[in-house]
Amino acid sequence: MRRFVRSHATELALLAVIAVICVFLSFATDRFFTLGNAFDLLNTGSVNIIFAVGLLVVLIAGGIDISFAVAASVVQYLTATVLGWIGGGNWIVGFIIAGALGVALGCINAFLIHGFRIISIVATISTFNIFFGLLMFFTGGVSIYNLPDWLTTRVVLFEREMADGTWAEITLPVLIMAICVFATWALITRTTTGRQLYAFGDNPEGARRFGINIGAMQFIAFGWLGLMAGIAGLVQAHYAQEVVPNALYGRELDVLAAVVLGGARLGGGKGSVLGCILGVLLVSITQNGLNLMGVSPFAFKMIVGAIILAAITLSNTSIERLLPFLKSRRVHS
């Protein structure tokens, strides 16, 4: 038990905070504690969670990526265009195109980082500007509204009519999100590659001497994030029923904040899928709750920012003080 607490301190702290917020919101609003609202949270949070688990892999491998959200925009636009050319397609074709484009864009980052030894933040800020600049230049900022029918039709996987006549639904994005989350979890905890990613993130030079192919690690990490970004881009297009070139601009920093809030360390070697999801959920539950409490939407970001700032301050000071064995371990190592 003590070992579990020690290895999952961030996750447990996040769970506790989320529980407190949920209990508070259940009493403060009459709509929060309903099945419909829980499902809404899942439906709207899907895209961010897909991004988050992708980014988690890169963070574990000791990198950072700023470009994934605009890469997803590029993928959206190209996929919509290609689907227009081939005259329709279906979900499988859509995923293959979007996934392949996403992986390709991720591999550009990995190539720059590994091939020329450019630090990942420099490389990805550069590609952020290149992707976004070229996208806006070639599209002229024009959105695409005439998407194929299969892409814009809402797919309801589970629905139930509630007592008050509203419908609680789980839609396709939630299923895709669940698959992405499971795949990422399996990759980083159940495969040799996953253990190598952790080792590489924790100590690149040590990993290299141990015989881990560091080039492969970079391509797997950034390629995986690219794959997730491509899928998230397609899901976002499905959810919003349109492709807007700058719709995802700025999302990268919000997702980054949520993932690091979930215990992933900037610098590599640490982070879990559970923590990552809890980080995203904490942010979206807070926003959802504020919305239901009738707080002005203009104040959401302010409060979310303040909560993250407070969480960082507390998690970096009091957890170590509250659990002294963590501190003593760090000193000895």
């Binding site: 933040i121 500007n129 600049g133 302010m302 303040a306 993250i308 960082i312």
Partner: protein, 331 residues
């Protein structure tokens, strides 16, 4: 002769070689590609556009030198601009006097410094990662600004502020003069003052610096506070140039300031980098943007080209490193 070159090179430092080569390349390429590039109008437009991005880059530079990052710069500038705008409005809006402007500017700088101070305290005392701390500060300030302005513009700025945005003294634009003054302040701070020395030390190795008896927490707090104050100066200039404040203005500059720093030879892990090469890098970026503009391309293409330039410089640096490696092997 070689001694002279050597002396100049020593005075300028090795970091200047990259940005300066890029400067020459840009001048040659656009001099041929766009016939009216080498004209007064080009340099005038660069001189007016440079300060906005430049002041924010200076604000980004200090934290990067300590091995950190300040992602809150643009919204700190917005908040400072809002503070000044409100003071002016409360003193009669368009009819406000010089006194209101001075008071407002001081308050604006105080607001900027306060945001930096909070970040500095959190970073120094909790050892949280600067990216995360400044990111949450950014989200907070953006929300605060949107909450207070409801996403709209704040305008009604007295006319005497216009010269700060558009005026020129002896043919040199006033915003450029302010920017150059700030560059010099930063240069002196980093090369002549104890705080500057300590900033480099922290960037190189914070633990070693702490063991050598330097109060690293104080230095970090000061660095972020100064960074916030510099954002406020940028906010004031932006207010004068656009005659209004809007939260989110300049947001697209955020990541470009990081690029400008790295293009200017600043080490991403901190500890190395100088102000003058960063200044040259900024001039290069603005010249590129103006040149592309003259050739009929838009701002978005310029953004993409900035990214490509950055990658190119990094690849060239890598190649240079490899060549040196080969040479030493042979020798």
């Amino acid at each position: 002769m070689t001694v002279l070159i050597e002396r100049v090179r020593n005075a300028l430092g090795p970091e200047l070689a990259g940005p300066f080569a890029a400067f020459v390349a840009v001048m040659i390429v656009f001099g041929f590609a766009a016939p009216n590039f080498l004209s007064r109008a080009t340099f005038e437009s660069v001189a007016f556009q440079l300060p906005e991005l430049g002041l924010l880059t200076l604000a980004m530079l200090l934290p990067i030198l300590t091995g950190g990052l300040n992602l809150a710069i643009t919204f700190t500038a917005n908040m400072a601009g809002l503070t000044l705008a409100w003071v002016l409005q409360s003193q009669g809006g368009v009819d406000a006097g010089i006194g209101a402007f001075v008071l407002g500017s001081l308050l604006a700088i105080a607001v900027g410094a306060l945001s930096g101070l909070i970040m500095g305290l959190v970073i120094a005392y909790t050892k949280a990662h600067p990216i995360l701390v400044s990111l949450s500060m950014m989200i907070f300030l953006r929300g605060l600004g949107e909450f207070l302005t409801r996403g709209g513009d704040v305008s009604g700025i007295p006319g005497f502020l216009a010269p700060i945005g558009y005026g020129s003294i002896f043919g040199i634009p006033v915003p450029l003069l302010i920017f150059i003054a700030c560059v010099l302040i930063w240069h002196v701070l980093l090369t002549r003052m104890k705080l500057g020395f300590n900033t480099y030390m922290i960037g190189s190795n914070i633990e070693a610096t702490r063991y050598s008896g330097i109060n690293t927490r104080k230095v970090q707090v000061l660095v972020y506070t100064l960074s916030g104050a510099m954002c406020a100066v940028a906010g004031i200039i932006m207010l004068a140039r656009f005659n209004s404040v809007r939260v989110g203005h300049g947001e697209s500059y955020l990541l470009i300031t990081v690029l400008a720093c790295f293009l200017g030879g600043v080490n991403p892990f901190g500890g190395f980098g100088r102000v003058i090469p960063v200044f040259v890098a900024l001039v290069v970026l603005q010249l590129l943007s103006s040149g592309l503009n003259l050739m009929g391309a838009n701002q978005h293409l310029a953004t993409a080209v900035w990214g490509i330039l950055m990658i190119t410089v990094m690849i060239l640096r890598w190649l240079a490193g490899r060549l040196k490696f080969l040479n030493t092997n042979r020798g």
